[in-house]
Point group: C2
Chain length 156, copies 2
DNA sequence: TGGTGTTTTAGAACTATTATAATTATAGAC
DNA sequence: GTCTATAATTATAATAGTTCTAAAACACCA
């Protein structure tokens, strides 16, 4: 198995799942590592394709079930695709996404840069919004929409 | 405040459409005014329901066609719903959206407040992101996700 | 190892959206 | 106003993405 997952050995994922009250199964392991190893946020079907190609049969329904379980337990998040289908992301914090208009792909702004932007948001204005609207902001999603001027990092 | 469409009489919309090279039709007028009068960003089907109730028969396909035409001509934008279906918005600038977790509804942060936040984004960090990634940001979408602490402004 | 509750699975069902092809309406020329 | 070319509307069929169902396989714990 040639995968670019860094340190996601079975034991690590097992205890991660355990910590989130998720049963460990071969399929969930496969889905989670596949998701976590993606630089671009994949759709359920893209994950299914990828998994079908590489290993053990795994059904599309299971991909959906697993993604739902991951989201519910806080190990992944579901992102709205501008288009038809949903995209998934193994990370769970606020962070910034880049949507490349040319390809429709959705990927992350590198952590450090994204954090820098988030850290420099005007907190007072956010507070004002919360107070004025009577709304409690629990999470934030920022999407930068545009095009690569140099080259696309990766095809979707 | 029943409807917040300010000055959307037929003549105004006619010239607006004209300016955007869109033929004026009874149906497009209906869809556009219905969309523009919504405080919450509706799905295609919600618009269809609303229009079916009030007036002249208009088909669901036309609602989709018209929304697509409006988006293409820059008179509306399509927003990704967290869930299954897309939502539409008659405004077209960058602006902030509020997603109410409790109801799933999507609405605007009042213009003034939203603008204040956008004006206070750290431009230097945005520039750094563009330069580092070789990406040209043409639009931005910010979604504040959370719950109303006082009361929901309106049911979706 | 055996029992119990959970997960997986193939396929059916469902929902949102887009395509098709015939009909009808619009805008502009006369 | 009428005519004509072109574009929009419509009902319906088709497709795509996702969820549901019920049966079989599995994980966990004793």
């Amino acid at each position: 198995m040639h995968q670019n997952n860094h340190n996601l050995d079975e034991a690590a994922v097992h205890s991660l799942f355990c910590a989130h009250s998720l049963r460990f199964t071969r399929q969930r392991f496969a889905v989670y590592t596949a998701l976590a190893s993606e630089k671009v946020h994949p759709t359920a079907d893209q994950l299914f394709q990828k998994l079908s190609r590489s290993e053990s049969g795994i059904s599309l329904a299971t991909v959906y079930n697993t993604l739902e379980a991951l989201v519910k337990s806080g190990l992944a998040q579901k992102l709205a695709d501008g288009g038809t289908s949903a995209r998934y992301d193994a990370a769970v914090d606020d962070h910034l996404h880049i949507r490349d208009c040319a390809t429709g792909s959705l990927s992350d702004v590198p952590e450090a840069l994204g954090q820098k932007l988030l850290d420099n948001l005007p907190q007072d204005v956010l507070k004002e919004i919360e107070d004025t609207l009577g709304f409690r902001i629990s999470r934030m999603q920022i999407e930068l929409i545009g095009e690569y001027t140099r080259e696309a990092v990766e095809v979707n």
